[in-house]
Amino acid sequence: MDQELVQRVQAGDKKAFDLLVLKYQQRIVHVITGFVHDPVEALDVAQEAFIKAYRAIPNFRGDSAFYTWLYRIAINTAKNYLTAAARRPPTMDVDAADATNYYDAPELKEFETPESNIMRNELEQAIHQAIEDLPEDTATAIKLREFEGMSYEEISQVMDCPIGTVRSRIFRAREAIDARVNEIMNQGEQQ
């Protein structure tokens, strides 16, 4: 789907780029905070990275996954930002090939605060609990999608059911997870 969105942007559909921003903004900000610790600055750098990506998109040929390409741009933008601000970039580097696994890098986690860790754990636990509370078929479908990274077609083969059924099961799971996450987030805002 990313490739189709990229082709649409290349053909003049700016709105398609908006969807790519919606999809990847959390990840890109998370990656950039590994370099730029100030949250406000990190958001500025992330915005700059997306703008650079838009400018470079006519040359994107799809040799690598779109996210890998975007990830490289984000890392370079963050490093350039630190160089321009006369600060030393961190020695830690993440290979672009491991872009999809960067969230496991311990170096990135060291920038998190204890409060954010508590919140993260609470959210993760709430989501896992929401999944466990689902009917078995629905829980299996979302687990195969989110934890195993399977496509709808692969899940339909594994679960021996039509793709449409997989889609609606995953949707129902997302609704349940969303309700639980909202609960936690609202509690957090009230505190």
Partner: protein, 187 residues
Amino acid sequence: MTANHTELLSALVDGELQGQELDKALQLLNNNELTREQLQRYQFASDVLHGNTHDNQRIDLSASVAQALDKEPVYSDKTKENVKASVIVLPKQFWQQAAGLAMAASIGALAVVGVVSQPQNQLVPIRTVANEVPVETTTVATTGNRWTVGEAEVADRLNTYLVDHNEYAGASDVFSYARVVSYEAGQ
């Protein structure tokens, strides 16, 4: 927003939409703020599961990025072609010089290979081989790339010639006789 719409958004998060469904989702996102919020909530939950969030805050850069992109050009397929064309086009003089250099380099390489390969192989003229091997004592047969003869001394000498020939053939790109024999024997 209907259940069908939210189901569409769920599939969008999973990257499972194409063609008309993707069109429809894009249209919904552009025209309905609630749809955008819903998509971001789904995406956020997925990002939390994968540890992709910063401080577990919901971030929305899309508005500021879109505003910044207002000043940027809208691309078209023509733009893409122009970008490609500007990379490929080179002056005619460049190609002439490159062709000349390539030709000179290949002639040089050929000369070097010829000089290097000749002295390494001390060839024994075939006529000498013929003179040294008494015709009446040889009963020669070939099996694979080995000679089979009655006398051990003659067999050794023939095998030495064969090895020399193989080495020369390998160095000078001449097809080895032994390989032909071996190939035929394999048939």
